[in-house]
Assembly symmetry: C2
Homo-oligomer: 336 residues x 2
Amino acid sequence: MNKKEFYNVAVAGATGVVGQEMIEILAERGFPVDTLYAFASERSAGTSLSFAGRDILVEKLEDADFSNIDIVLGATSAALSRAYMPKAMKAGCIIVDNSSAFRMEEAVPLIVPEVNGHLISSHKGLIANPNCSTAQLVVALKPLHDAARLKRVMVTTFQSVSGTGKEAIEELLDQTKAILSFQEVKTRVYPQQIAFNCIVNWDCDPVSGDTEEEVKIIEETKKILGDPALKVSATTVRVPVFRSHGESVSIETESKLSINEARALLSDAPGITVFDDPSRKIYPTPLDTVGQDNVYVGRVREDRSTENGLHLWVVADNLRKGAALNAIQIAELLIA
Amino acid sequence: MNKKEFYNVAVAGATGVVGQEMIEILAERGFPVDTLYAFASERSAGTSLSFAGRDILVEKLEDADFSNIDIVLGATSAALSRAYMPKAMKAGCIIVDNSSAFRMEEAVPLIVPEVNGHLISSHKGLIANPNCSTAQLVVALKPLHDAARLKRVMVTTFQSVSGTGKEAIEELLDQTKAILSFQEVKTRVYPQQIAFNCIVNWDCDPVSGDTEEEVKIIEETKKILGDPALKVSATTVRVPVFRSHGESVSIETESKLSINEARALLSDAPGITVFDDPSRKIYPTPLDTVGQDNVYVGRVREDRSTENGLHLWVVADNLRKGAALNAIQIAELLIA
């Protein structure tokens, strides 16, 4: 994009959990913002947000005038992204979209800067940000793939409710309070009780039984690693945790990697903190990674049930690396 | 054992979560109990318990006189089992021990009745009850192993705190209350906060990094299925759930099983409820299985990352099939 000293940046979906995190991270990282535009639904329009000490009026996305905007950070649903992002592109904006709407389109680069940031120049006005579970997974896989070539990846997720949004955070809180005070538990966002329970996303394909989230992890991982032949499987579970996702990952590689080789490769890779020392009981929990930028990897173990197998426990803040931070890292590549 | 109309039964560790569940299940299933003896630590001795409408005095395990007892149900720690079970055996009791103390001894049958109940006659005075995570896993694996021969089993657990005991249940409750009222969170039982977090058992082997729980699942599964060559891997995670364990299980079989064939085999097998219909959003959550005897299996899906691969989501009440119920089912085999 045209090099400038400062850019007009819009956040679409500015009042959601990811949108709010984007605005915080823009300020925190000193992104060269000239004017910040905050777009949201009619319900939030007219309220105001704080950005780097300034008050920003929230405007209705439906009425957005994109003509003066350089970069749009999309933190809306896939349906809203499909509705408004083409309009923004037509107005000349470059879009970094966090929704699933365009991720698998061939012409759209799907970027995690540490993994495939070099694709930034191939964009045609829109860059997609991956699913939260995929983003943290590929950061951890990349150095191992480069060194020993991955053949198979299996992941079971422990996903926090903030991945679903603000209402899911409230639901976990409300249900927990209801249980502790012996009141009736109500469900609104999730079809099953999430407090003190583990549930599965309910958007299942009725034939394969795979959830949309599982399909996203499988397809996006292959696209980001640039390896359509890679074998990936996923089981996604929502747990009663507010923030940060855990992933139990098992990999099989072409060439053998010892535990220590894998730890060394991970330590040297960008965006990763190796937090792994069984002798001192060190491994990452979701709570450890809240507000952190890096993907934390621990419990690197040999998987003796196969040749060249390793287990990893991969934890990251789903609102940061899994969403807002990655989007802003993409925007930083755009203006670099 | 010698056939009688009624048996004198002792529960060692009678005031713990598993011991209490054993006493309830003995009454519920009408086990032919003559006198019930309740043994526990000094702290609980002198209190009383209710069993089938009778008041039972809790006696000190240290002072237990086993001479008049036919069957001892062990619900103590491995250390206490090692200390007292040999004494009980010497007194002529038959022991069903829920601890890990004797499970892997060659002369000790490790029994899940639906899987290897025929081994009951091989006992030499002591039968071991498996680890909670293993028990529910092998019930689900057995019909698939018989039909298509398992080559590899990978499991990631979502374990509830009741598997750790009464104090862990209190810890989850206390920490949750503290967080909701903005108080300081204290840890006593687990080294990390369990409320709104996912943690890993910290009893790690400093070299392999495997936890004791993971090693138990691997070794006990092979022993119970009678297949030392079976490849098993495990990752165990503790989640903020009070009761019932979930397991994300991936298997590879010698011969191909379709989703529907696997569902049919599971439906026909003893001790299993198939709760699986993606078109109607049906699958089991931990909450669904609390107080249930059966192992619930759902989310039977093809694992397209390997040949002949299937995913299963296996959920059961860890205090019932995972512990107390299985022990009493073993005792029922003993007196059959």
